[in-house]
């Protein structure tokens, strides 16, 4: 299958700190990839480079075979849910959704599942600054799915969500996968990744340690749970 996202020899440093050191990876069409790694291992930087929010020092990111540097049209096909959703304070939820539709100029074929599942339509009049962290996350998730993108990039999607909301999101992720979408998830909650992911990519200090199917990983370690498998493999490698 053709790869939809390809990252080639990506390097990025912030000051003296090398966050990404020659990262090479590719993601096919469809499936859920769990991107794991300790704090400050470069997960978010990798995601932001794919989105063109961080400009790499060297290397290229290709989306659908085309380099993303200096282009922006490819973002139509990506739904991004940031780690911490930050939105204009004075705007109301309803206005935010309306503005996004207006800016993208897309008004049909919208995916409003999450808006109704989270009851956001009942809160359209609430200003963004009054929202709790969890509600913001809900808004971010709903916004990421809104335009039916081919690729979903979720940066710690369930952090801050209550268990019920997290379940709704997980169901949504499964449903999107069934539609043949590619979904990248970073998370520190291994049980969640265990439930969702098909492939695991492990980043450590700016390098990819491994990128393989979850089942292969478990078989290699001889463990049933991702958490245990991961500990086993990582301690072996040291």
């Amino acid at each position: 299958m053709e790869n939809i996202i390809e990252v080639k020899q990506l390097k990025k440093s912030f000051g003296k700190l090398q966050v990404l050191k020659e990262v090479n990876c590719s993601f096919g069409q469809g499936g859920i990839v769990g991107i794991l790694g300790p704090n400050a291992s470069g997960k978010t930087t990798l995601i932001k480079s794919i989105l063109g929010m961080v400009i790499p020092d060297a290397g290229e990111v290709y989306f659908g075979g085309k380099p993303v540097a200096r282009s922006f049209d490819y973002k139509k096909q990506i739904g991004y849910m940031p780690q911490i959703g930050r939105y204009p304070d004075n705007m109301k939820i309803g206005e935010l959704f309306k503005m996004m539709k207006d800016l993208r100029n897309v008004h049909d074929n919208l995916d409003t599942d999450l808006i109704s599942a989270y009851g956001l339509d009942a809160m359209y009049d609430k200003a963004m600054r009054t929202l709790s962290g969890g509600t913001r996350q809900k808004v971010s998730a709903a916004l990421a799915c809104l335009f039916n993108p081919k690729v979903l990039i979720l940066d710690e999607p369930t952090a801050g969500l209550d268990p019920l909301a997290a379940e709704i999101l997980k169901d949504k992720i499964h449903a999107e996968k069934a539609k043949g979408k590619l979904i990248l998830i970073t998370s520190h909650i291994l049980t969640e990744v265990d439930e969702l992911a098909d492939d695991i990519m492990y980043l450590f200090e700016g390098n990819i340690k491994f990128h393989k199917p979850l089942s292969a990983l478990k078989a290699e370690a001889g463990e049933q749970k991702l958490g245990k498998a991961l500990t086993k493999i990582l301690t072996q490698n040291v």
Partner: protein, 255 residues
């Protein structure tokens, strides 16, 4: 680009700061015109006040707004919109609201009380000055990551233009007082948009005669058609060049 501008302008109008700025300018202009029967004197007073307030408010407000809307920028960058359009949209949104505040606050009273070529030149220079300082504010904002540093730099720019620059010119004149510096001075004014604006307006007022030999020379140069075009052109440079540089910086900025 214009959609972004529209949302920003709407947001600014809601915040009421621009409204207060409009009322302040209007109150100053109207009280100056009402207390002094001499329109020319009134225009001089307004110019003096305008040259302090307009750059200060433009540069500080634009920088503050830029940083307060950082979330909005982040949100936009993850959307299919080019960075150039994001920054230009922001520029148009912010500058159109501050500019309309100026046009309503100063433009309307001046046209009502002192309609004439001087009044129109005053409005034009004030508008250009607004645009210049918003450009400079954008430059300060994209150059700095941190809000406090950004606003600090913006204030430094204002200090340089309205206070430090004049001091430097005085030192320069004093040190080299043995040489004929009148023509050099004309060139030096190009380095400060506020001075350009001041000269442009004051030389329309026939009070240049009070400024001695240099004033006469300035009158000769800046009072001529060429001089007016020259100084308007330079103000345009002060408006366009910082904006282009900030576009370039913004294109390569990590968010």
């Amino acid at each position: 680009m214009f959609k972004i501008a529209k949302y920003i302008a709407l947001d600014i109008i809601k915040s009421k700061v621009v409204m207060a700025y409009t009322l302040l300018l209007m109150a100053i202009c109207i009280s100056v015109f009402l207390t002094d029967a001499d329109v020319t004197k009134g225009l001089v007073s307004i110019t003096t006040i305008m040259l302090i307030i307009v750059p200060l408010v433009s540069v500080v407000y634009a920088t503050t707004y830029y940083f307060n809307a950082a979330e909005f920028t982040e949100l936009l960058v993850s959307q299919p919109i080019s960075r150039k359009n994001i920054l230009l949209g922001k520029y148009i949104g912010i500058s159109s609201s501050i500019l309309s505040a100026f046009l309503i606050g100063v433009g309307v009273p001046v046209l009502l009380f002192a309609f004439g070529s001087t009044g129109i030149i005053l409005i034009l220079t004030g508008s250009l000055l607004t645009l210049c300082f918003i450009s400079l504010a954008f430059l300060a904002s994209v150059a700095m990551r941190d809000k406090a540093k950004g606003i600090g730099l913006a204030l430094m720019i204002w200090f340089y233009c309205s206070i430090i620059f004049d001091g430097l010119v005085l030192v320069f004149l004093y040190a080299l007082s043995d040489y004929p510096l009148e023509k050099v001075l004309i060139a030096i004014t190009a380095f400060n948009p506020i001075d350009l604006a001041r000269i442009l307006v004051l030389l329309q007022l026939d009070i240049a005669a009070l400024m001695g030999y240099t004033g006469a020379l300035f009158q000769d140069f800046f009072g001529s058609g060429f001089g007016i075009v020259f100084s308007f052109g330079l103000l345009m440079v002060w408006f366009v060049v910082p904006l282009i540089i900030s576009l370039r910086v913004f294109r390569k900025k990590d968010l």
